[in-house]
Symmetry: C2
Subunit: 411 residues, 2 copies
DNA sequence: GAATTTTTTGGGGATTTTCACAAAAAGGTT
DNA sequence: AACCTTTTTGTGAAAATCCCCAAAAAATTC
């Protein structure tokens, strides 16, 4: 067979038609996906298939566990690097039989993938050449879809920003927008924000888009990017334990950004669950508040991702202002600071660690790297010097608050 | 001797002169006091005396322990009831030798007392008659002092109110007022407020005035009455432990109001220590804030008398407002309330008591009248139902705050 | 009304915490 | 250097807390 021979130099109306054509030429089942592993088309003339393909077709996307495996094992990274076909050995644990994949390129961007299953026959080098021709032939068709989608995405973004900034304050208007964008608004939603260390580049955007679209944990309604923040609107319908889901998703997303794209130190936060789309501004502000507090108390709020869990840190802006206006000073803390300064000891730190450790002497002693009796002695001194009664929850609470407020003020 | 005979029907310039006259007639040392046991005059012709009298003259008032003893043992109550002379047996423990006292009356009000010491001779019935005549003769003179004092007190009051309400905002002006009232302003001061259960009657006023003036623990600079509140400005100079002193004084005052005059349930509060007289308004407002919180959390703040010690309760006005505007609700608390309602249990109450008891299971179990294991079981349920982690101080603190806020809201 | 679940109470042993005491180390003063 | 105070660490016994099990009581469900 001549390498010049190109059976794909023909016009076709739909991608499905084209998938069938490839299938006929290569004598095996074929599927075409976009860059986010969404199913675009699949051949129907061949009935042989494998579980992974069935799931992909049923769900109109490649199952997440399959994507994960293909990432881990290197197929997808390879496809994103080369224009050559890649052979994948069968992986029974995810229901994948032997197959060959090729990426579809336009300039230096991957638009999608073609998969050919090697169920009865193994593809030859010639078949590989044909596959490359098929990939080349399909790119323009894909590009059309892509640009159409881009325009749509712009409208999505505009709508999302209007929602976030409270520019749509009429339920009917909001419904209308959803309808015109062909989105069914979920009855409950949450806003997620991922804060990046640096501004998000357009290359990052692709990774983000890819991750969001391939994720199958949460339904992403809308998302947009603002400097170093990725803002996402997700549906929270039909979950027993929404916050757990949100946390799982956040960790998954940040984990994959790190593993796959080397983008580390993302800070995920999310709002509470809302039902009223006019309150999306509140949700967004919640997330910003959490980010702001997390910036100031990174250690204390390490495992806190939402406003609800912030606990007393919710109050800090307010409290600081109060303290400023009334010129109040915690008597005990002042005494302890004075003592620390005079004898360069560290009673204040000791107190803070002790309170952080929920009054547990052993834990606190470990955290401070001192003997438990040492801590005991210090606590006795603290209660003497600072006139603190460690049996009084009110006193301790105020101390804790004022301790943290000092830090807050200091930053 | 004829009962008509009256050696005191004579004019005299000063009270001291009159005291000497009585002393001459009765052949014993004499002192005259006002209703608040302030020394008004004393005889000098006789050198015999006792330690109590010496202290009285030196301090220009009867020592507090002597007054206390005379109250306890019934002399003063008797003097306030009858116009007859009362004999007091000697009380070595307070340096008091035998003496006779008589109260000086104007209408139904006691203006003061005359004391005659029975050092060498015991007074006869005739002497008693003479003493009554002396008391009668001196009353007009005392009345003059009284009215002069009243006018002065009115000026005091006016000045005090101006200070409290911030109508004097110029240090020079304030100093001037102090000077013109012949008060040396202390360099540090505090405002005390005693809240009565009912509006203060003019009869109560006399008791108050008496107690304030006879007290020797704190130096009272100014005081005034506003409906059911007694407002006092005290000097806090020269104390090591000011707050302890203030507390002692408060308890003393409320105790004596109860014991002596049957006026119960006074609520004492006091401000912090201030140095700047322009900030007296702040001090006053502090006390009012404490009273307001104490009204809402009587049990929790039972032993709290000043703003400083209020701890987290300082923040409640602010927090409540925040909660209202943001429409936040504590998730755990809501869950627990729901459970309580459904199973008519009392998990919320259990939680509150437990937190009040500083996480001490035994104390809390006692307070709840249940077995410690029952409480343990309930706490396990609480942590399950409310998703509370009892090792997390932040969570617990927020729970505590929200619990108390609920109550605050409820009232 | 029987069966099941939830709640309360009790016992008792393992584990921790608490506390007093003492020795040693560290820091400061004269 | 000698002396004192403060701080740290160690030890061990008493006290308390924690935790498991089980039985009984109460409430709920079927």
């Amino acid at each position: 067979m001549n390498t010049r021979y190109d059976p794909f130099k023909t016009s076709f109306d739909s991608l499905d038609e084209f998938a069938d054509l490839i299938s006929q030429v290569l004598q095996c089942p074929v599927t075409i996906e976009d860059a986010n592993h969404r199913l675009l088309a699949y051949s129907t003339h061949d009935e042989r298939t494998d579980p992974a393909r069935v799931s992909t077709i049923i769900g109109r996307r490649v199952p997440e566990k399959v994507i994960n495996q293909l990432w881990k094992e290197g197929t997808i990274p390879a496809l994103l690097k080369t224009k050559e076909p890649i052979r994948v050995k069968n992986m029974d644990e995810i229901g994948l039989s032997h197959r060959v994949a090729i990426s579809i390129w336009k300039h230096d961007e991957v638009l999608g993938f073609i998969w050919a299953l090697e169920i009865d026959r193994t593809l030859t080098d010639e078949d590989f050449t044909l596959l490359k021709k098929a990939a080349d032939a399909v790119k323009n068709k894909l590009l059309q879809l892509q640009t159409r989608k881009n325009k749509k995405e712009e409208r999505f973004q505009e709508f999302f920003w209007k929602l976030l900034t409270g520019h749509l304050n009429n339920p009917a208007e909001i419904s209308e927008h959803f309808y015109s964008l062909q989105i069914t608004p979920p009855s409950s939603f949450a806003v997620l924000v991922f804060q990046f260390q640096e501004n998000i580049t357009s290359q990052d955007e692709q990774s983000i888009s890819y991750l969001l679209k391939t994720n199958q944990r949460l339904k992403i309604i809308l998302y947009t990017i603002d400097c170093n923040q990725l803002i996402v609107l997700v549906s929270t319908d039909n979950f027993d334990n929404v916050f757990w889901e949100l946390e799982q998703f956040s960790l998954l997303f940040t984990g994959k950004m790190a593993d796959r794209y080397g983008i580390y130190n993302l800070i995920p936060v999310y709002s509470g669950i809302y039902h009223d789309y006019q309150k999306i501004t509140n949700a967004y502000e919640e997330t910003l508040a959490v980010l702001s507090i997390k910036a100031k108390f990174p250690r204390e709020t390490k495992n806190i991702y939402n406003y609800h869990k912030l606990g007393i840190y919710q109050l800090f802006d307010l409290l600081l202002e109060k303290r400023k206006t009334e010129g109040y000073e915690n008597y005990s803390l002042r005494r302890l600071h004075q003592y620390d300064q005079k004898h360069n000891s560290n009673l204040v730190e000791t107190l803070e660690v002790f309170l952080n450790c929920d009054n547990n002497i052993n834990d606190a002693a470990k955290a401070l790297n001192v003997h438990a009796n040492t801590l005991n002695y210090r606590l006795k001194r603290i209660s003497e010097i600072g006139e603190v009664n460690f049996k009084d929850p009110n006193q301790k609470m105020m101390l804790f608050l004022d301790l943290k407020l000092e830090k807050y003020k200091g930053i």
